[in-house]
């Protein structure tokens, strides 16, 4: 008999050891991602927990009754203790499993978890304490009492987890939240809105019976009186009003109201409180009295109306898909996103044409229930998608813009009972394909821009199925003529061509024609050469070009200047020094065939002001030249003018020079846009091994110029000889 008892106790004892070890391990590792059935096993926790609670409570009277300590009594208590510890441990294990679902307040959970595990450990310890405390009754009773108390505190947090923090607090509970009355002109802001919010969110703790902080919000008078910290509000001054200040504190602040864990005020509600306080906290203010343009109006409408919207809009009749499933479907080419962090609804978008296949859509049937939006825009998706689309029973938005669908299969969408918007822009869908859509009850908008539907047909659709907005989008006005952009050259910045190199013009509008001249005259839609292929030039050439196309106004002319590389000077020497800031690469700048731009004068330009521009060029194998061309910057705003005179001298050497050509370029008569001006100097034809050029800058800027009487700059970036 005795043996059997001991064996029983030993078996339970070993089981207990094992389970306790398991409990310690499980409490220390993350249980997220354990199988669902294990989590569901955790649902037994609230049932089982009654066993250890009653057993532990019973320990106390048992210990008091069995004070003799006979063998029989001790055995009974030993049994009892073993079972208590066993139940406590199993309950704790179930609790850990159920905590894995993550749906509880982490703060409370941590407290409950560790206190209850301690209870289980302590009840296990009681088995041994009982064995060694044979004659120490006080020690025994206090150990038992401690366990009971620990258990109570632990279970209190457990109760708060499931039943709310105030579950065990006493006093009247206002569980019924008050509904807002629909807004009318006679709606009284205080009574009908402010007071309702206070009742729903504050009055539970601030009422006549339970005046936390000595504040009672049940009547206006007591509300105004405030609590122990002071008046709840100061009429007309929301910033100094205590109840608003408290609401605005961060949620972790001890003084934040409503306290953490309670239903919080929304930002609209706080806004309303502020505005109402600012408007003299008038208890009689009606909705009618609020100015039409006042934001407060729309806020009140929002507060009153969202109550009902919140319930319907955010609640979908399906649960979240598992994170793993979503994760496994997500890729750079198929993105699946929840609408927001709380929502079970998903949006699926496809990216990169070359990566699209119908299989990518088909695989989404794993989350078919949760998908409310599919975006296939620009994907090479054809009619094959429709047989898969019908699986998405909760689909609300379907974007097929720019896909390859024919429209013939649109009837498959009949099974998408919740479909509200269909995007068919840029597809070959025609009017006849759309009749089926017109009959779908939930559809509200259909986008048809650039489809086969004409604007007349769209009008007809809008009349026939007027519950739907058929959007045809922008239709250009035939009569409106727009001006084309001017033509450009393929290599716009390259202004210097090698002999034989071709000029290539272009215009971005398909079908536009380019007409151009090279004689300085203005081309128009009739005159000028029609550009058909790249052409060559000789010497310095100015091209004026316009773009022409049917249904468009001709463009403004664009002008391109091209320099042909001429006789190449072997070296150049700057005689007068350019200004420090504008020295570019020194003398080589003039013959290196690198052009500057008229607005960036720091690069590739030599700039002169205090002295004239004066440079010499040397030819080892001179050929006959007839022209010198200087490429000159023209930027009146930056005081950069063409030179007033250019003098070219030539000869066999530096010491035998004579003037072989001069020119006085035309001067600007008002501010003008920056540009590059080629200035040609006609020379007495001849062979000149040595040429010297001086460009004299304008010495007195004209009176119309802001810098009148000052010297002008002259900028040269390149000199050519032909």
């Amino acid at each position: 008999m005795m043996k059997k008892n001991q064996l029983h106790i030993q078996i339970i004892g070993s089981l207990l050891m094992l389970l306790q070890a398991l409990m310690i391990v499980m409490s220390s590792v993350s249980l997220q991602g354990i199988p669902l059935w294990l989590q569901q096993l955790g649902h037994l926790h609230p049932v089982l927990l009654h066993l250890p609670i009653s057993f532990i409570i019973l320990l106390l009277p048992l210990s008091i009754i069995f004070k003799k300590g006979t063998e029989q009594e001790r055995l009974l208590i030993s049994y009892f203790l073993h079972y208590t510890a066993l139940f406590a441990t199993i309950t704790a294990l179930m609790g850990l499993l159920s905590a894995a679902s993550n749906e509880y307040d982490p703060d409370l959970l941590t407290k409950h978890k560790w206190l209850s595990i301690s209870t289980a450990v302590l009840s296990h310890a009681l088995v041994y304490i009982h064995q060694i405390s044979l004659h120490k009754r006080t020690a025994w009773i206090s150990s038992v009492t401690a366990t009971v108390m620990l258990m109570f505190v632990g279970s209190h947090f457990g109760g708060s987890l499931t039943h709310g923090e105030d579950y065990l607090s006493f006093g009247e509970k206002e569980n019924k939240s008050k509904e807002f009355k629909p807004i009318t002109d006679s709606t009284v802001v205080y009574n009908d809105v402010v007071q309702t919010i206070l009742i729903n969110k504050c009055i539970e703790c601030h009422n006549e019976q339970k005046q936390k902080g000595e504040l009672d919000l049940t009547s206006f008078a007591s509300f105004q009186k405030g609590g122990k910290t002071g008046n709840a509000f100061i009429i007309g001054d929301p910033e100094q009003s205590l109840f608003i200040q408290r609401a605005l504190l961060t949620i972790d602040d001890r003084k934040h109201m409503p306290p953490k864990g309670k239903l919080q005020l929304t930002s609209e509600e706080i806004f309303l409180f502020k505005e109402w306080t600012r408007k003299k906290a008038d208890t009689l203010l009606t909705f009618h009295q609020i100015d039409q343009a006042d934001t407060l109006r729309s806020i009140i409408e929002k507060i009153v109306n969202t109550k009902s919207i919140e319930k319907t809009v955010n609640q979908y009749p399906f649960s979240k898909a598992s994170d793993d499933k979503i994760q496994s479907l997500n890729s750079p080419f198929r993105r699946i996103m929840p609408v927001d962090i709380h929502s079970p609804a998903l949006v699926v978008k496809f990216y990169l044409k070359e990566k699209f296949s119908i299989q990518l859509l088909e695989e989404c049937s794993a989350i078919a229930k949760q998908v409310i939006e599919i975006n296939l825009s620009s994907m090479p998706a054809d009619d094959g998608i429709f047989k898969h689309l019908s699986k998405f029973e909760n689909l609300e938005k379907l974007n097929l813009n720019g896909t390859l669908i024919s429209g013939k299969e649109l009837s498959a969408l009949k099974s998408n009972k919740k479909l509200e918007s269909i995007y068919l822009a840029n597809t070959s869908v025609g009017k006849n394909d759309l009749e089926v859509i017109g009959k779908l009850p939930s559809v509200k908008s259909v986008y048809l821009w650039n489809s086969k539907v004409t604007d007349k047909e769209a009008v007809a659709l809008n009349q026939k199925y007027n519950q739907i907005k058929w959007d045809i989008g922008y239709v250009p006005d035939e009569k409106e003529l727009l001006k084309l952009t001017p033509p450009s050259t393929v290599n716009a910045e390259k202004m210097i061509l090698d002999p034989g190199e071709l000029v290539q013009l272009k215009h971005p509008l398909p079908g536009a024609q380019i007409r151009y001249t090279i004689d300085g005259s203005a081309p128009d839609s009739m005159n000028g050469l029609l550009y058909s292929k790249p052409f060559s030039i000789s010497g310095l050439t100015q091209i004026n070009a316009i773009a022409v196309s049917n249904g468009w106004l001709s463009s403004n002319p664009s002008t391109f200047t091209y320099f042909l590389k001429g006789a190449k000077a072997d070296s150049a020497v700057i005689i007068n020094k350019p200004a420090d800031r504008y020295r570019a690469n020194g003398s080589i700048t003039l013959i290196n065939f690198n052009k500057g731009t008229p607005t960036n004068l720091n690069l590739n330009w030599l700039g002169f002001r205090d002295e004239t521009m004066k440079a010499a060029f040397h030819f080892s194998h001179p050929i006959q030249i007839k022209q010198a061309v200087l490429s000159i910057a023209d930027n009146t705003g930056a005081y950069v003018f063409p030179p007033q005179k250019i003098i070219v001298k030539g000869g066999n050497s530096k010491s035998s020079l004579r003037v072989i050509g001069t020119v006085s370029p035309a001067q600007p008569i008002q501010q003008r846009n920056a540009g590059i001006i080629p200035v040609t100097v006609q020379l007495a034809p001849g062979i000149y091994p040595y040429v010297e050029i001086e460009a004299i800058n304008v010495q007195r800027l004209p009176n119309w110029h802001p810098g009148k009487k000052e010297k002008a700059w002259v900028f040269v970036d390149e000199v050519f000889f032909y």
Binding site: D340, L352, Y474, P508
Partner: protein
């Protein structure tokens, strides 16, 4: 390398160490687990979970048409007939109330009021006032939501722009687009989530700088990527001559291995960023050409945005590209159009600027609308501050200019959950002060974040010992502009 390692070690802070130590010991020591929360440095502040909206967003993407240089509110949307009536009269001191002036007008002896030279009319059901400069915008006012009472703290371009883009004037904070990318992540991982497009009008211009699209203290993946206007909008995206796609792939795989091993050794998070960037650029090789090829645009589209849209680098081309990027899931497309700084010759400059932006801005709205995308795309049009109601320089018969004015200016928003056909706020009849419903730049940021499904108080990043937000310690959502 040695230097970098040294720097990295210096960057390992006590907190960093404890965090790592907490994690490492956690598996072993029950004691550590009991106080796990303390060791893991879990933020007690209710910070938002990144990568997804906190509540159902109204807008999923933003296109910000920034009018750089500050277009005058008095020549665009804020109609002030009193200024025409009092043309040439002195600005009453009771209106100016000692408001500080820029260095450009502080020496001016007189402040003659100047009425707009452009005619105004009311349009649409909302009856919003629009000047003759913007006939196309006028045709869509019922889709627009005007805010007439923006005000800012800065009075010069650089700080004002920086303030608008980053929520602070100093230029060391992340910009709006970077915050969006950080908070909401990217929709399309084949493209950057924050793209920047630049254009320059013919008016008096002010520069833009890369600090305006900086990631600040956020991870550098959130930095804005500038598309250039030439033949290759994204530089260095093409494979070098003689390399095909496969050899590029092999190279990247090898490089990723090297990077991964150096990350293991050093642990610098920027290495991870770099690996991600390479992968994204590889996919961008396919994604970008699809978007930047304008050769197949229909005649209708070209007429919608205006023929300029075919010329790379123009505002119109950028609007069209912005629509394509946005449609492809780019979270934030930031345009800057320069040239609105009308200190003098206002009439001529404004005409040229308006000509460049009017058709394309309105075209963008219409285009988004006809594709069903306007509901989920927030478009913003506006500058960094307003312009004075008095003349800068001498008021002559045929010319005037306006100086910077931070106390009130207008912008408009469209789509993305804003209330269409709305005019929010009122300025006084001098167009100098705000009469009703002021909206600060912080309020504006809070509102934009709200539309994107983010509580601006919860999108935070801890840096140098404190938490930062786009709105820092201010900002209230402007409910009146939300549908």
């Amino acid at each position: 390398m040695e230097q970098q390692e040294k720097e990295f070690r210096l960057n390992v802070t006590r907190r960093h160490f404890l965090t790592k130590a907490g994690l490492g010991l956690g598996g072993a020591a029950l004691g550590g687990l009991l106080f796990k929360d303390q060791f893991m440095g879990v933020d007690s502040q209710a910070a938002m979970q990144l990568g997804v909206a906190q509540f159902a967003p109204k807008a999923k993407r933003i296109i910000y048409l920034f009018q750089n240089g500050a277009p005058s509110q008095l020549e665009t949307f804020d109609h002030k007939p009193l200024l025409n009536k009092m043309h040439g009269e002195e600005l009453p001191a009771s209106i100016r109330m000692g408001q500080r002036l820029t260095g450009m007008t502080s020496n001016q002896e007189k402040f003659p009021l100047v009425g707009s030279t452009f005619n105004f009319a009311q349009y649409g059901q909302s009856g919003a006032w629009v000047s003759e400069l913007f006939p196309h915008m006028a045709s869509i006012v019922d889709d627009l939501c005007f805010i007439k009472t923006m005000h800012t703290e800065a009075i010069n371009h650089d700080p004002a722009l920086t303030f608008f883009q980053t929520g602070a004037q100093q230029g060391n904070r992340p910009s709006m687009g970077a915050w969006m990318s950080y908070g909401l992540g990217s929709e399309n991982s084949n493209l950057p989530s924050y793209c920047v497009l630049l254009s320059r009008g013919r008016g008096n211009g002010q520069g833009v700088y890369s600090k305006l699209w900086t990631n600040g203290f956020l991870d550098s993946v959130h930095q804005g990527v500038v598309f250039s206007s030439g033949e290759d909008p994204v530089l260095y995206l093409n494979n070098p001559d003689g390399h095909d796609k496969q050899s590029r792939r092999d190279m990247l795989d090898m490089l990723a291995q090297f990077n991964a091993s150096s990350f293991e050794n050093i642990g610098d998070p920027e290495i991870k960023t770099r690996i991600q960037q390479y992968e994204m650029s590889y996919r961008m090789q396919s994604a970008v050409p699809e978007l930047t090829d304008f050769s197949k645009e229909s005649n209708t589209t070209i007429k919608l945005y205006g023929p300029d849209c075919l010329v790379p680098g123009t505002y119109a081309a950028n609007c069209l590209l912005a629509r394509k990027l946005s449609e492809s899931g780019v979270r934030f497309v930031q345009l800057y159009h320069q040239g609105w700084d009308t200190h003098g010759n206002l009439e001529g400059d404004m005409r040229m600027q308006a000509e460049d932006v009017d058709r394309a801005s309105a075209g963008l709205i219409k285009d988004l609308k006809q594709r069903g995308l306007l509901d989920e795309t927030l478009v913003i049009w506006g500058g960094e501050f307003g312009r004075t109601n008095y003349c800068q320089g001498k008021l002559t018969k045929d010319s005037y200019g306006r100086d910077h004015h931070p106390k009130c200016f207008s912008l408009w928003m469209a789509g993305g959950g804003t209330k269409p056909g709305t005019v929010y706020g009122e300025t006084d009849e001098f167009g100098y002060n705000i009469a009703k419903d002021p909206v600060s730049v912080h309020d504006f940021h809070a509102t934009v974040l709200h539309l994107m499904g983010i509580n601006h108080e919860q999108l935070t990043y801890k840096h140098l010992g404190r938490r930062y937000r786009l709105t820092d310690i201010a900002g209230e959502v402007v409910q009146g502009v939300i549908a």
